[in-house]
């Protein structure tokens, strides 16, 4: 149907322009319908049981968790149910795609994919950058280009974090770029010809040569670490033959070559031509906007602008400009900011519209994330021996993604509009082989657990813990902690020693490897985290820092540095003391989506599957564990979420004069499981509440069980 639509649109367009074929832009619903048609054709050779579509509320829960990373509130359920039945789903999808929370949720997906780690050089800035790119709809190919081609200072140039991740090691980056952006595991070919695939060591070295001149460099200024830079050298480090094969032979510099095959021509639906046309249109619109802006600007604006500029100039011209010059002349001079021509070339190859694999990879990853199973599994292992289950569907979606200008939101929208995404579950007795066949044909929704961040945020949401739900002073508790305090000087007459440098000795237990904040934490802290201020993380601090340092006399700088050096005191004697403090424990949790990630080892998010993103083969493990059970049964989050607070709507339904137990039970089910209870469940809930010391406690027990049950953590 769509094809016909496209063709009819083609004819008048060709006459009008006659240069590039102009075609109508199919909307996501049309693409989804066409993908479904192709997939059905591809399923013709398969036999499998077919599940019905997921019911309306099941869909609502699923789409909220998948698009914005948490379950809907009762108010959101009501809004949804108030919409006309035929438009509910599509309208909700559109609405959710435009929320900031969409960027929060999908930044997690990209953080996993790009292995973003806040604690490496520029890691926090990269985490913020990825989030911002999603929020402002930076096309996916542009994002990829920036990450592959970045140069400059970690933090100030957030994109550099991607390559600095692996210390800019050319061989590591070769594996990373092919696996992350193309879903191809070429890294085995680093040491030997690929055992399961066509890649040879020469292919690997050809690709590695694009990274051959890239280095991670630390720059210091007046003995201070100024920053870590991603920088280009004159010489490549990639030589052939490899060290182990050289045997005395001269090793020659390898010239870079992109080893992956590109499409020879545009596709049957002209996706490349459509992309070209789209880009021309966008460029024209942007230009028009710019002209309009200049014409519309009034005199006041222009004057304000000039005053601002003058003010900045006056204050900082000398210091600022000079400092900048200094930065540039440090070490290797002009090379400091030199962009990587080689990596730019690589980025162009990777994101070339004729390199369909680039689009296939992301389509497959997003499909797998949303549906629970990719066309190719594992998602980063495309190879001849591991073919896609529905190659034509995958290619069609990939081509449409290219034609959309690599627009990520459109891709997600398309996928969630497919009947495959909206499948329910098989009912009745289903044999495991039948279930697998249905899952492989995308005819049923596979069991899928919420990702740890969504699970965390959903508990917070269901438990009304984003804001305080108790009155101030209602929850005073005594907290006992142990602290080491100095009680005297060590009697060491012969050796008046220095106090060790912070981090070079002392009493603290190891905070992970060499000061790595990946270290675990203790107590209920395992359910908290550090929130990153994304705006601050993206601030360009380099020039400010230099400016400050230039302005300070050397003597002051030195004194400041001495402060960090050991003082001339003798070694102290310590004693452990018990400290008791009174605190008002009125818990509030913030969204886990913006926590510095990955979370520390042992943290709730890690226990439920977030990886530490250190190696390329990390994949979220969604299998149950004892630690998960302990955390849910005894953790602070679940227990506080279950407790009923006077400031939440539930309270009046349970405790007030107008208490209405049935309404309260209904609300508990809606807030936690996004559905109303059935008769059996109502009876059970009443019994639970009656059995407790107070109805408030009974409601907490019911909510605790609902938060802990499997239906809560597995998507409908």
């Amino acid at each position: 149907m769509i094809r016909r639509l496209l063709l009819t649109a083609l004819v008048p367009a060709l006459t009008a322009l006659a240069v590039t074929p102009v075609v109508a832009k199919p909307n996501p619903a049309q693409i989804a319908a066409r993908a479904d048609a192709i997939l059905k054709e591809e399923n013709k050779t398969r036999e499998f049981p077919q599940a019905a579509q997921v019911d309306d509320l099941g869909f609502l829960r699923r789409i909220y968790v998948d698009l914005i990373g948490r379950i809907p509130t009762d108010a959101e359920i009501q809004q949804y149910q108030a919409l006309p039945a035929a438009e509910r789903r599509t309208q909700t999808i559109t609405q959710l795609l435009n929320r900031n929370e969409f960027a929060n949720r999908w930044a997690v997906f990209f953080n996993d994919m790009f292995r973003v780690r806040y604690n490496i050089d520029g890691g926090a800035a990269l985490q913020a950058y990825v989030h911002e790119a999603l929020r402002t709809r930076v096309p996916y190919d542009v994002l990829a280009k920036k990450l592959i081609g970045a140069a400059g200072r970690a933090g100030s140039q957030p994109e550099t974090g991607f390559i600095l991740n692996d210390d800019a090691d050319p061989l590591a980056m070769t594996g990373v770029v092919s696996q992350v952006f193309l879903g191809i595991r070429i890294s085995c070919a680093q040491c030997h010809d690929h055992p399961f695939d066509v890649w040879s060591r020469e292919d690997f070295y050809d690709l590695a040569a694009f990274f051959g001149k890239t280095r991670r460099v630390e720059q210091r200024f007046k003995m201070r670490l100024l920053g870590v830079y991603l920088q280009e050298m004159q010489q490549t480090s990639i030589l052939w033959p490899p060290e182990d094969k050289a045997k005395g032979k001269t090793r020659k510099a390898v010239s870079p070559k992109f080893p992956f095959e590109l499409d020879a021509t545009d596709g049957p639906n002209h996706h490349v031509a459509r992309l070209t046309q789209l880009r021309e249109e966008l460029a024209a619109t942007a230009k028009a906007k710019q002209i309009a802006k200049v014409q519309a600007a009034n005199v006041d604006d222009l004057l304000d602008d000039a005053v601002d500029k003058a003010a900045t100039k006056k204050e900082s011209l000398d210091v600022f400009a000079e400092a900048k010059k200094d930065v540039r002349s440090i070490g290797v001079g002009a090379d400091m900011y030199k962009a990587s021509e080689l990596r730019h070339a690589l980025a162009d190859h990777v994101t070339n519209p004729l390199n369909k694999q680039f689009a296939r990879n992301i389509v497959n990853r997003v499909w797998a994330q949303l549906i629970g199973r990719g066309f190719v599994n594992p998602v980063d292992d495309f190879r001849k021996d591991n073919p896609a289950s529905h190659p034509r569907t995958l290619d069609f979606l990939a081509e449409e993604f290219i034609a959309s200008g690599y627009d990520f939101q459109t891709l997600v929208q398309t996928i969630v509009l497919t009947p495959q995404y909206q499948r329910g579950k098989l009912t009745g007795t289903v044999s495991p082989p039948d279930r697998l066949a249905a899952e492989e044909a995308f005819a049923t929704a596979p069991a899928r657990r919420m990702i740890s961040e969504a699970f965390f945020d959903s508990i917070v949401q269901a438990g009304h813990l984003f804001t305080p739900k108790h009155r101030p002073g209602d929850n005073m508790v005594t907290v006992v902690s142990y602290q080491r305090v100095a009680v005297g000087v060590k009697d060491d007459p012969k050796k008046p020693n220095l106090k060790p440098l912070p981090g070079s000795g002392g009493q603290a237990m190891m905070p992970g490897m060499n000061g790595n904040p990946q270290a675990g934490v203790g107590g209920y802290d395992l359910e908290r985290g550090i929130e990153i201020d994304f705006k601050k993380a993206l601030k360009k601090e380099e020039e400010l820092a230099i400016e400050k340092m230039k302005a300070v006399p050397d003597a002051v700088l030195e004194a400041e540095m001495m402060k960090n050096m050991p003082d001339q005191k003798q070694r102290m004697r310590y004693k452990t003391v018990e400290v008791r403090t009174q605190v008002d424990d009125n818990p509030v949790f913030f969204s886990s989506m913006k926590m510095a990630s990955p979370a520390p080892a042992g943290h709730f998010l890690r226990v439920f599957g977030q990886t530490d993103r250190s190696s390329l083969d990390e994949i979220r493990d969604h299998s149950p564990s004892m630690r998960q059970a302990l955390m849910m049964v005894n953790g602070k989050l679940t227990n506080e979420a279950a407790r009923v607070g006077p400031l939440e709507p539930m309270y009046k339904l349970v405790a007030g004069e107008k208490a209405n137990l049935e309404a309260a039970i209904d609300l508990a089910y809606r807030e936690i499981l996004t559905r109303s209870p059935n008769v059996e469940e109502v009876t059970e809930a009443k019994a639970i509440i009656a059995d407790a010391q107070t109805p408030i406690q009974g409601m907490a027990d019911l909510r605790w069980a609902l938060l802990n049950c499997n239906e809560f953590r597995y998507l409908p």
Binding site: P378, G505, V633, N710
Partner: protein, 423 residues
């Protein structure tokens, strides 16, 4: 979503251990015991537990177990005699010196990685880091090979990270204890939930799950139930008492040194007494690029009473024969003292301490050259240490297990046990 369901064993129906065992049996085609027997003649393994002290940052060998008196590289410390004639260690360990008859020192570890991350990886796993495979730490290997004994988890790490279990699966991951002596809040119902109410909640949950599981259609719901049962069993276990280090008599706490490390060593002892197979006690602060000597003196103050008391307590109770104690660090420090009075990274040669678990005490294996720069006699490769740990436990370090991508991997990276340890 289980895209790599074959890899993430967790609580899956098919016992990973059985599966891997079967795979290995056919691969090797011979009896494992015979291989172990071949590695060391006339050796009957006695070790059942391991306590690993991880000294993060790279512990100086010259200032601890390999003193170089009279050399320019000596540094501030003098060597002191030990209870074994002819063996001297640094003055920062006066109490440990008295336990020398139980201790074997290796002074010739020949490392190759000078970077914290890569060196830590190898010293903990025996393998060099690779881009596409996560190797399991030695603790996970032990947890994988030795059956759980008692209610407590087989593998517990205290005060820091343990390496990951990699392809050995989630069940071989370490159980994490933040600070020794602190109550782990996750091992009991929250303060405001009494025993009766807590158990009632568990009953409600059980009923709900049974009703729902048919709808969820997941292979994982059974294992979620097993995980929950295991969790409740652990919560109710009297063995949890082992974590209550502060219940020890004040004089015992004092004897281990009033420090987190001391309490860590004490906790390790209590855990081993309760059947835990592998305990890792973590401590950092050895990366002394500046002011190395005062820092090392403080380290001595903290480590000496803890290690010495642990060895003597275990020796007294007879558990030392069954418990291998080992201290490891990612590398040593440069013999040369830098202008900041510090020492830098030095993987070329460094030392470790082993005691108990069938290791013959009172000996030094290998040596470094006059300045402590490079191995002189009997260089010991890093995987030989891990192979020795396996050997002490009667585990064949060359046993192969399958990775998720069906690649056979040895438990230890081609290590041969250091036979002198067990002679």
């Amino acid at each position: 979503m289980s895209l790599r369901s074959s890899g993430c064993a967790g609580y899956n129906a098919l016992s990973r251990r059985t599966f891997l065992g079967a795979a290995t049996g056919t691969f090797l085609g011979m009896n494992l015991q015979s291989l172990v027997a071949r590695a060391g003649t006339d050796f009957t393994p006695t070790a059942e537990h391991v306590i690993l002290f991880w000294n993060g940052g790279g512990m100086s060998h010259i200032d601890t177990f390999d003193p170089k008196p009279g050399r320019p590289t000596q540094g501030e410390f003098e060597p002191i005699p030990t209870s074994v004639p002819g063996i001297q260690i640094s003055e920062i360990f006066p109490l440990l010196a008295k336990q020398m008859k139980h201790i074997a020192l290796i002074r010739s570890i020949a490392g190759t990685n000078g970077d914290h991350g890569r060196a830590t990886y190898q010293l903990r796993t025996s393998y060099n880091q690779s881009a596409n495979l996560q190797h399991p730490g030695i603790g996970s290997v032990v947890a994988h090979e030795k059956e759980q004994a008692g209610d407590l988890p087989s593998y517990i790490t205290i005060g820091g990270l343990a390496p990951k279990a990699g392809y050995l699966g989630q069940r071989c991951e370490a159980y994490y204890v933040g600070r020794p002596g602190d109550r782990d809040p996750y091992l009991a119902f929250p303060a405001n939930i009494g025993e009766v109410r807590g158990n009632k909640r568990l009953d409600i949950l059980q009923r709900m799950n049974q009703r729902q599981n048919a709808k969820i259609l997941s292979d994982d719901t059974d294992s979620a139930q097993t995980a929950l049962v295991d969790a409740v069993k652990l919560m109710r276990s009297p063995a949890l008492e082992a974590f209550e280090v502060r219940k020890e008599k004040p004089e015992v706490l004092e004897r281990y040194g009033d420090s987190e490390f001391g309490r860590g060593a004490l906790l390790a002892r209590r855990l081993v007494e309760n059947g835990v197979r592998f305990v890792q006690v973590n401590r950092g602060g050895f990366d002394v690029h500046a002011n190395a000597f005062p820092a090392m003196r403080d380290h001595g103050d903290i480590m000496d009473p803890a290690l010495a008391s642990l060895i003597s307590d275990l020796a007294e109770s007879g558990l030392l024969q069954k418990t291998l104690i080992i201290t490891l660090s990612e590398f040593g420090r440069t013999p040369k003292i830098n202008p900041q009075e510090g020492r830098d990274h030095h993987p070329t040669v460094f030392s470790c301490l082993m005691a108990g678990g069938g290791v013959r005490g009172g000996q030094v294996i290998g040596s470094s050259d006059a300045d402590g720069f490079a191995p002189k006699d009997r260089p010991v490769k890093v995987p030989e240490i891990h192979a020795s740990i396996c050997h002490a436990l009667g585990v064949n370090p060359n046993k192969e297990v399958m990775t998720p991508l069906q690649r056979p991997m040895k438990l230890v990276d081609n290590g041969i046990p250091v036979k002198e340890l067990f002679s």
